[in-house]
Amino acid sequence: MRRTTRARLAANAALLLTAAAFALPLLWLLLASVNAEADLRVRAPSSFTADNFDAVLTDEITFTPMLNSLLLCGGATLLTVVCAALAAYPLSRHHSRFNRPYLLTILFTTCLPITAVMVPVYGLFVQVNLIDTMYGTGLFLATSQLPFSIWLMKNFMDGVPMVLEEAAWTDGASNLQTLTRVVLPLMGPGLTVVTIYTFIQLWGNFFVPFMLILSPEQMPASVSIFTFFGNYGSVIYGQLAAFSILYSAPVLVLYVLIARRLGGGFALGGAVKG
C-alpha cells in the first residue's frame, strides 16, 4: 500500500510540473487580455481593465473577420457534412468490390500533407478566377476536410442497424428518404460530432485563407490577427490577447460540447481503431 501511495505522489508531482509548463502561455493570454500595460511576460495586472476588449470589439477588428470566419467555415462545414453523409451512405450500406479501394484512398488522403498542395492550388485558383473569393476558398476548405469526414461518418453509420431501413424500404421510401428520415436521425450524436469537429478544424485553419484570400475585407479571423503586427508601430499585446480569446472562444466551447463523445481514443476517431 505504501508503495502505491508513493507512486501516486510521484505521478502527481510530475504531472503538476508538466501542467505548469503547459499553463504558462495560457496564463499569459488570460492576464495580458485584462492588463492595460500588457507586455510579453506572465504578470498579474496592477489593475484589471476591460479596455483591451473594448478596443478590439469594433467592426473592423473583430466583427467583420469573425463574420467572415463564420460564413467561410460555416458554409464549408455544411458542404462537407452534406457530401460526407451522402457518400458514406452507399459505402456503409451497399457492399461492392468498389468500397475497399475507395475507402483506402480516402484514408490515404487524410494522411497527405495538405500544406504541400497549396502552391498548385493557388496557381489553379488564379487560372480559373477563384482566387480571392469566399466560395472558392470555402470549396477548397470543404474538400480538405472531406476525406476525414467521410471516414468518420461511415464509421458512425455502420453503427446504425439496418432493420429500420428495411422497414422503410418496404414502405416504398427511396434511398434519399431513408437516409434523411431514418438513418441520419438515428445517428444524431455521430452527425453532431462530425459537424462540430469539421467546424473546429476549419475555424483554426490559417494557411488556406492566408493563400487564397487577398482582400482585407474578406479575411477571416485566423489571418486578420496579423494586422496586430502590421498596422501599429508597436504591437499592443493586451489587444492581441483579447482578440485571441474572442477568436478562440467558439472552438473551445464547441470542443467542450463534444469532448465526452470524442472520449479517450477518438482523436482521429475511426481512423485510429488499430
Binding site: 504531472l15 495560457l26 493557388y122
Partner: protein, 288 residues
C-alpha cells in the same frame, strides 16, 4: 421496390464528394506534378516551358533546400518523435497512477493547448520564447542563464511550440491504448515480482506497439506539414535557421516567384507524405 435503386444508381450519392475531391484535391496534385517539371514563374512573361528534372536537380544542389530538409528532419524528430510521442505516452502512463483532480487539471490544460487555433498557439509561444518573455522570466527567477531563444535556437523554439500544441493527440491515443490492457496481465507480472520499469518494457510497451506505430506515423505526417506555427513565430528566420520545407516552399514560390521550383519542393513533400501514409495503412492493416 424499384425506388431502392439498383446497380449504378445506388452509387449516385457518392458523386458530389467524389467530384469535389477530384476537382480540388486530385486536380491540384496532378497540376503539381506538371508544374514541377516546368519553369513557371509568378511574374514576368517567360511563360512556362517544360524543363524536365531541372527543378529537382536544382533542389538537390541548392544549399538552402538541403538546409530545409535538415531542419525538417530536426523539427519532426524533436517535436513529433521525441516530444509529442514520448511526452504523450509519459502523461498517459502517469495519469493512471495520479489522483483524479491532478489528472483532470493536466488533461484539461494539455487539451486546451491542442484545441486552440494554430495561430493563437503560435502567438502564445512567440511571447513565451521572446527575450522579454515568460521563459526568460522563469529562468531569471531560478537564477539560470537566459537568452534570446528565437534568435539563438529558433528551430528548438518552434519544435517546443509544436510539442506544446500537439502532445494532447498522443496523450489521448495512449490513454485509450493503456485502458485496453487487461488488468490481470499487469497484476500477474506484479505478483511475479517484476519491477515497474521492467513491467513497462516487457509488458506495457509490447502490448501497445500498434498504437505506438500509428501515433508515430500520424504525428510525423502532421508535423511535416506545419506551416502557420513556424511562420507566425519566426518566418523561418533568423536567416533561414528555422526554414522547414513548407516554409521554404512558400518562400520560393511566392516571395521569390519561382512557382515551378516551389512546386517541385511541394511534390517532394507530398511523396514523403505518401510513403508514410502507405506504411501507415499497411501497419494498421486497415479493415475496411
Amino acid at each position: 421496390m424499384s425506388t431502392r435503386g439498383t446497380g449504378l444508381w445506388r452509387w449516385v450519392p457518392i458523386a458530389p464528394a467524389t467530384a469535389l475531391l477530384l476537382l480540388f484535391l486530385a486536380g491540384p496534385i496532378g497540376y503539381c506534378v506538371w508544374i514541377a517539371f516546368t519553369n513557371t514563374q509568378l511574374t514576368g512573361a517567360s511563360g512556362s516551358d517544360f524543363v524536365g528534372l531541372d527543378n529537382f536537380r536544382r533542389a538537390f544542389a541548392d544549399g538552402d533546400f538541403r538546409n530545409a530538409v535538415r531542419l525538417t528532419l530536426v523539427f519532426t524528430f524533436v517535436s513529433a518523435v521525441l516530444g509529442q510521442n514520448t511526452l504523450g505516452l509519459a502523461l498517459a502512463g502517469l495519469m493512471r497512477a495520479a489522483s483524479r483532480p491532478v489528472r483532470t487539471v493536466t488533461g484539461t490544460l494539455v487539451i486546451t493547448a491542442w484545441v486552440l487555433p494554430e495561430i493563437v498557439a503560435a502567438f502564445l509561444l512567440y511571447t513565451f520564447f521572446r527575450r522579454e518573455g515568460t521563459l526568460n522570466a522563469v529562468l531569471d527567477w531560478l537564477h539560470l542563464p537566459s537568452q534570446n531563444w528565437l534568435f539563438t535556437l529558433p528551430i528548438l523554439a518552434v519544435s517546443f511550440a509544436n510539442v506544446w500544441r500537439g502532445t494532447a493527440f498522443s496523450m489521448l491515443i495512449y490513454s485509450a491504448a493503456l485502458a485496453e490492457i487487461p488488468r490481470d496481465i499487469t497484476e500477474a507480472a506484479e505478483v511475479d515480482g517484476a519491477s515497474g520499469p521492467r513491467r513497462v518494457w516487457h509488458i506495457t510497451l509490447p502490448m501497445i506497439r500498434r498504437s505506438i506505430g500509428t501515433n508515430l506515423m500520424l504525428n510525423t505526417l502532421s508535423t511535416l506539414s506545419v506551416f502557420g506555427l513556424i511562420w507566425a513565430m519566426t518566418r523561418g528566420g533568423p536567416g533561414n535557421r528555422s526554414q522547414t520545407l513548407p516554409v521554404f516552399m512558400y518562400d520560393q514560390a511566392f516571395l521569390k516567384s519561382l512557382i515551378g521550383y516551389g512546386t517541385a519542393v511541394a511534390l517532394l513533400l507530398l511523396l514523403v507524405g505518401s510513403l508514410f501514409s502507405i506504411v501507415y495503412l499497411r501497419l494498421m492493416k486497415v479493415e475496411v
